[in-house]
Symmetry: C2
Subunit: 392 residues, 2 copies
């Protein structure tokens, strides 16, 4: 994996988690990096989300570091804002950079006070450990209930040379009670102005993290940051913007797919492809309704080609469409043609559905050229077992 230049990473165990696994991570840029962020739309927002937004504003989108802790979401806590600000300032002081250029992110349990001293005490050691090579270690430190780290990268030609993009993310749903966070950090060594970077992130997020659902619950801590420090010496101008955004979208889709695949209790990655709607937004709404239907997700878990549930979920999306012009395709097999049962071999299709990747296609013929892709996972008894277990 080729990493972008000019970034350093570190992680350690600060005692925030109950078990001794790294729970504090640092991502730094050697020079101020342009930064764009997208955050949870949940009305209940964690303190670190509020501080990120404030600092991005105060610092005009220039960022030197991101401090991340796992094991505590610092959400719905009395000391939330105070702890977020104190740890941000301490991190800034340790690095010798303005506090407005340091962002913080938290993931873990909601409603339990976060002990900021655990973090400030660990900062000198954390800063001393910063290294360009600890990318992987940081991607593991930010995990909560994830079963594996999630990273992706791309190399893009730009200007007279090449720039690199590398991202990491975490999130598996809420396997451990009150775990409710998706975090994503994407770094590039391209030089990109903050305004342009924001547009790129919005566009790429729309086609990746916003097309992802494990259980339909949006967390209080969702934070996705894109940093561009220019360390490659290559600037993304108008000529390169298109293919750079494509590569960025590709990296972020790869990360989003990894989250879906690692969804709580999930055994199958489900890709939903909707096309033929009037607009792209209509296609996304239909895809989201299918992705959030427990009945569709349990049918896939049971390898049941139950297309009635898929058609019904689409009809439930609020998007007007003509069912009698709608085809449903499962693993490449047309199971519903023009709104009616198609002929297919159920045992053969059931075998195809037994794999660990399932594709659902919904084609609405004649309405338009809108299309969208969406990722989710199947819904197994393990999801219930995990989420119904009493907190220990």
């Amino acid at each position: 994996m080729k990493l972008p230049s000019g970034y350093r990473y570190a992680s350690l165990y600060a005692g925030i988690r109950k078990y001794p696994k790294d729970d504090l991570a640092f991502l730094t840029s050697d020079v101020p990096a342009a930064c764009a962020g997208v955050f949870t739309q949940n009305r209940v927002q964690a303190a670190p989300v509020r501080l990120c937004k404030a600092n991005l504003k105060a610092g005009n989108g220039m960022v030197r570091a991101v401090l991340v802790n796992a094991g505590n979401a610092n959400c719905a806590t009395r000391s939330g804002d105070r702890v977020a600000l104190a740890t941000c300032r301490a991190a800034a002081k340790t690095l010798g950079v303005p506090a407005a250029q340091v962002l913080v992110a938290s993931t873990g349990v909601i409603g339990v006070e976060l002990d900021g001293k655990l973090i400030t005490k660990a900062l000198p050691q954390l800063a001393a450990a910063l290294s360009p090579d600890s990318f992987r270690a940081v991607s593991e430190a930010i995990m909560t209930t994830d079963t594996r780290p999630k990273t992706s990268s791309a190399e893009v030609s730009a200007g007279n040379g090449a720039v690199n993009i590398a991202g990491m993310t975490k999130g598996a749903g809420m396997i451990m009670p009150m775990m409710a966070t998706t975090l994503g950090f994407v770094m590039t060594d391209a030089a990109i102005a903050v305004g342009r970077l924001r547009g790129m992130l919005r566009e790429a997020a729309e086609e990746s993290f916003n097309r992802l659902s494990v259980d339909g619950d949006t967390s209080t801590n969702d934070t996705l940051l894109l940093l561009a420090n220019g360390a490659s010496g290559q600037k993304i101008g108008a000529r390169d913007e298109g293919h750079f955004t494509d590569a960025l979208t590709h990296v972020m889709q790869d990360l989003a797919r990894q989250i879906a695949r690692d969804g709580e209790g999930a055994k199958k990655l489900i890709t939903i492809q909707v096309s033929g709607t009037r607009t792209k937004e209509d296609a996304a709404r239909i895809a989201r309704a299918i992705a959030n239907s427990p009945l569709v997700k349990t049918a896939i878990a049971g390898s049941d080609p139950n297309w009635g549930r898929i058609l019904s979920a689409a009809g439930n999306s609020g998007v007007p469409f003509d069912p009698s012009k709608t085809d449903v395709v499962l693993q490449g097999v047309t199971v519903c043609r023009a709104g009616l049962a198609a002929r297919f071999s159920e045992p053969a299709l059931k075998n195809k559905l037994d794999g660990d990747e399932v594709t659902i296609g919904v084609f609405i013929n004649g309405s338009g050229r809108g299309e969208s892709r969406f990722w989710t996972c199947d819904f197994t008894e393990d999801y219930i077992r995990i989420n119904a277990s009493y907190r220990t």
Copy 2:
């Protein structure tokens, strides 16, 4: 149970289900009854839903009979409209009434052709069996995956005497694959004009069936009919309208609660009470978001007082509110006060959550006086087991 006068009921096994349990039912009124209906909002609508709407229009809302079959939804079928119309006409002929005064409803598997001959052949025997006493038998015949029949009734003083209301419903979610139907039939012997009846049904449905969720999926066949035949000789005038609608709402809430309690795999009835929002609609949106959150429903299954999930689901509803003014109450115990953890004994509360009824209260202080109640059930491994099992 005191039944309204002037209605007769019958059911028999016509061979639509695979197993020999009554699957065809008739509800008739001795005289034309005013009728109001509410139907699924799903874009995919079954043939009987379309025919109900057409006949209510063509017959000016006057109805003599409702013909119901279980075991086949007559949805997404080639012969759907043809079969619905043919069975409706045959039923009308058997009774000697206009076809526009006969409604039809179906529940069961989607996408499989319904054999109308099974129904028309059985009609003479069905009509011959009509009796005022077979209300209970019909409430059992319309069951699909329900574990028990669901009925409710009320007596209301009106005019110089009293009128009766009796209702039945079915629905447990979609325990058997592709079962996707809630049906409800409510009869009264009060005399009520069609226009007024429609308003009453809308009002009562809004506070009952529209405040109910098992798994967030709206079916293709949902049909709720209210019939008023005037057989009591008492008219519901302006003076009686209020308390009659209250009694009707009470009966329909009782039916809705029974559906939630019998939800697929459910062990607990969950009542969600939201108050203090700007409007009633805002309260209902927050309550619905909580009711549809798999994370809240699995926590309740595990008797886990996991209020962070409740607050997060509320924040996810799209309704603007101030989390720092929000209290969450579980089984009467305040678990979150002003958006922060309250002090409570977890073991004691866990014991309280082990019962078969759970109440979640969300109080948003200071925004307004909007409030709403909503019913759902917990989410257990049985739900997955039932819905993931391959069709047999």
